[in-house]
């Protein structure tokens, strides 16, 4: 056979059609991957249930408006919580469990987002409902309720006893942790939404509950817990109130009794009092009847107090105070720890051993209680507490309460949650049932489901301390945009697709295409499950085909 011309060669079979036309390998599959939105453990850790990974994703993608909206849907004040929140979200983070790395510094990112969007106006309220709601107290609970009630379209008037709005944010927490101008600008933003905030009006003195009920469709009361719990010891009248001291400091009138000061108690108020005194030049000893393990202060506050040079005397219980020409003599008794009490913390037990210590001034900060005098007896329980349902409803159908008033001293974010929850309850009560969907969170993504291989492993970046001239200037700074983007790269984005493309990259069948997010071509996906296993945050899950075909 001659093979000189192409026609001399034998014919060979040639495949010209794509496998795509006829080879539907999706038929091989018994399980199918589906993209879902699952709850992250940081989200369940946050008392407000903030959808953390979703807004981190928005930040990375440059959608700050959307990040701000999704955050403020559950917390109107990221600038504030981004500074002072005890960040339970970070305690829930899967990263330490999965890798041993430190948690993502969510609070610092929240602070950055809050500062970046400080000038963004809040959304326009819903159309007017014609209902007018009164809010008493302008702490985080009152302001949060006012915000959500206003967004719902109600007319809102806030009545505040003090000269400025903000509650503990303005008059309790010192400026080096939360500068007053930040609180003022958040209040101004609320006023721009049409919220009427009237300061210098005290419930009980200037208006009564009955007055408010007569002129409003509902009343939300969040007057906080401002009464110092009295210490029942000899010479208690010689003590200064820690909270009153902070209030005067926040009004620019700090008065230090002398160079040697003591603070009784180890909660947040005690830490702030001690640190302020240090900043004003005094040496400070915290007297606490239990130990560091039982102290109620937020851990970081304690560490910062240590950093400021505050001395702690553990298992030390003041039993008497006496005045003498050289100052105050405090008699303290040494305690030991016994069995846990009803709070779960070990109970301090007296040992009978006492000694005397000398100070120029002693501050009491052993916990605050609420003033219930504006409430008629029928609203109170026999034990003398307000009778409150979880959504803030009381025995008076027109009156809702929340925040520290209802719970005793808690946190800013707890107060914000209480305000939002009460706003929803009031909205329902006023006849708008459908528009607030229930937002219960589902079971969070477990650490074992995540895949940390593709995230950036680097040290955590937190809002760092800065050197300041004035000891009341803010002690830390907001992260830079670059630092925030770097920190977000550490996040596995548990349960939320942040368009990292890992599934697209690894699909051996090219069965995933991209249209803003992954689109799985079920005609061809063989159900190998690689995308599900490699997805860093396990936002992809496998479901049995039987559930699909017999659904």
């Amino acid at each position: 056979m001659s093979l000189e011309h192409v026609d001399d060669y034998p014919e060979i079979p040639v495949s010209l059609a794509s496998t795509r036309t006829m080879l539907k390998t999706g038929a091989w599959r018994s399980v199918r991957p589906v993209l879902t939105e699952r709850t992250a453990p940081c989200t369940t850790g946050c008392p407000a249930g903030l959808g953390v990974p979703a807004y981190l994703d928005d930040i990375t993608a440059g959608r700050l408006d959307r990040a701000f909206l999704s955050l403020t849907a559950r917390n109107p004040f990221p600038r504030i919580t981004g500074r002072v929140c005890p960040h339970l979200c970070e305690d829930g983070c899967n990263l330490p469990i999965r890798t041993g790395d430190a948690a993502v510094s969510i609070r610092s990112i929240e602070r950055w987002l809050g500062d970046q969007t400080a000038d963004v106006a809040h959304p326009q309220p819903n159309p007017p409902t014609g209902k007018h709601v009164a809010v008493v107290g302008s702490g985080p609970a009152g302001l949060s309720a006012a915000y959500y009630l206003r967004r719902s379209g109600h007319e809102v008037t806030v009545y505040e006893r003090r000269a400025e709005a903000g509650g503990v944010l303005r008059y309790g927490i010192p400026d080096y942790r939360l500068p007053a101008p930040i609180v003022a600008s958040e209040v101004a933003r609320l006023r721009n939404m049409g919220i009427d905030i009237r300061t210098g009006v005290a419930l009980g003195a200037d208006v009564t509950l009955a007055d408010l009920e007569a002129t409003h469709a509902a009343v939300f009361i969040a007057t906080g817990a401002w009464q110092e719990r009295p210490l029942e010891i000899d010479g208690a009248e010689l003590l200064e109130s820690g909270l009153a001291f902070l209030e005067s400091v926040n009004q620019g009138e700090a008065r230090v009794p002398g160079p040697h000061c003591a603070v009784i108690g180890a909660g947040n108020t005690a830490m702030d009092v001690a640190r302020v005194l240090r900043r004003l030049g005094a040496d400070v000893t915290v007297l606490y009847r239990r130990t560091a393990a039982e102290m109620p202060a937020i851990r970081e506050e304690y560490e910062e107090a240590l950093g400021d040079g505050v001395t702690f005397e553990w298992l030390t219980n003041p039993t008497a105070i006496d005045k003498n020409p050289a100052g105050l003599t405090v008699t303290v008794e040494t305690m030991r720890l016994g069995e846990p009490d009803e709070s779960g913390r070990r109970r301090p037990i007296p040992t009978g051993e006492t000694r005397d210590v000398r100070f120029d001034g002693v501050f009491a900060a052993t916990g605050e209680t609420a003033d219930l005098s504006p409430f008629p007896p029928f609203m109170q329980t026999r034990a003398g507490n307000l009778d409150v349902r979880p959504d803030g409803a009381t025995r008076d159908p027109l009156v809702f309460v929340g925040g520290d008033l209802a719970t005793g001293p808690a946190t800013v974010i707890d107060a914000i949650v209480a305000g939002r929850r009460a706003a929803r309850a009031i909205d329902h009560q006023l006849g708008f049932d459908a528009r607030w969907p229930m937002d219960e969170l589902s079971e969070p993504v477990a650490a074992a489901e995540t895949n940390p291989t593709y995230i950036t492993r680097r040290a955590r970046t937190d809002s760092p301390p800065v050197a300041t001239v004035d000891p009341f200037d803010e002690e830390t700074r907001t992260l830079t945009t670059g630092e925030v983007l770097g920190e977000i790269e550490r996040c596995m984005s548990c349960g939320h697709c942040n368009a990292c493309r890992t599934c697209f990259v690894f699909c051996p069948d090219g069965a995933i295409t991209w249209d803003e997010g992954p689109v799985i071509d079920h005609e061809f996906c063989k159900g190998c499950g690689i995308c599900v296993v490699e997805c860093p945050g396990h936002a992809m899950i496998l479901i049995n085909e039987r559930e699909v075909s017999h659904a």
């Binding site: 091989w28 493309r501 063989k526 499950g529």
Partner: protein, 301 residues
Amino acid sequence: MRWAVPEAEFMDPGTLGCQGCGGALSMRMVLKEVGDDAAAVLPACCWSIIDGPWPLHSLNIPVLHTAFETAAVVATGIKAAKRHQGKDTTVIAWAGDGGTFDIGLQALSGAAERNEDILYVCYDNEAYMNTGIQRSSATPVGTWTTTTPDERPEPRPKKDIMAIMAAHRIPYAATATSAYPDDLARKVRTAVAARGGMRFLHVLSACPPGWKMPADQAIEAMRRAVLSKVFPLYELRNGRDLTITVWPDREVAIEEYFELQGRFAPLEHEPQTVEQIRSDVAERWQALVDRHERTMALAGA
């Protein structure tokens, strides 16, 4: 992490690769970088099947199926014809480990020695998978295959194909795996850019049925091969200058690689083999590190 892997696809879905096929993924990733000005030569191997049955095929480039031992020489011929036509098409010889380490070695050695202008990719799944998991000279010591059953697992260490290619002094050779897509992509780009001579890529490719593991573990297995240093990722220029491209960022014991795969079950009863492998792996890694450092010193780094 944001991937540097191109969006364009040159492999259509509907391939006949098994669920989780590492060989299919290797092809998909390599073609993303090579593009469609290319032709592929497939000797007998799983990929003869994966591309699809007549009259279908999945790759968006011409494919020529050829005899088991001939990948390198057929690619050489096609390249010569393309050159004759005045075209600069990248011609890929795409062969399995059997077609490379064993039966195709003669043709491969000839093409390498002549420094043919082809891109030879060995997708290595460490046995003859297409015919039902028979051992090859790429099968690691201690492995179960149908021809090295549990009672008599593979007795010989894996052949060092990269050393053989280095001995040919070809311009570019590299190891890669699709568990490290950015590294693989960069090596393919380097290989394509080094046109004019012979380029060789040794791509470890998991085979879930042959490795006896769940399909969804394919990427993890390849990743652990690299992290445990059983399959180090490096590149070799002119057979001499060696640079390690992926330095394991965490310790993974060889046992963590083995335990994912049923094919290594015989090792459970052979602690002395495991120790032998451990010292071989450490010794080979150290030799690579030494060569890497020598390369850096020569480059004045």
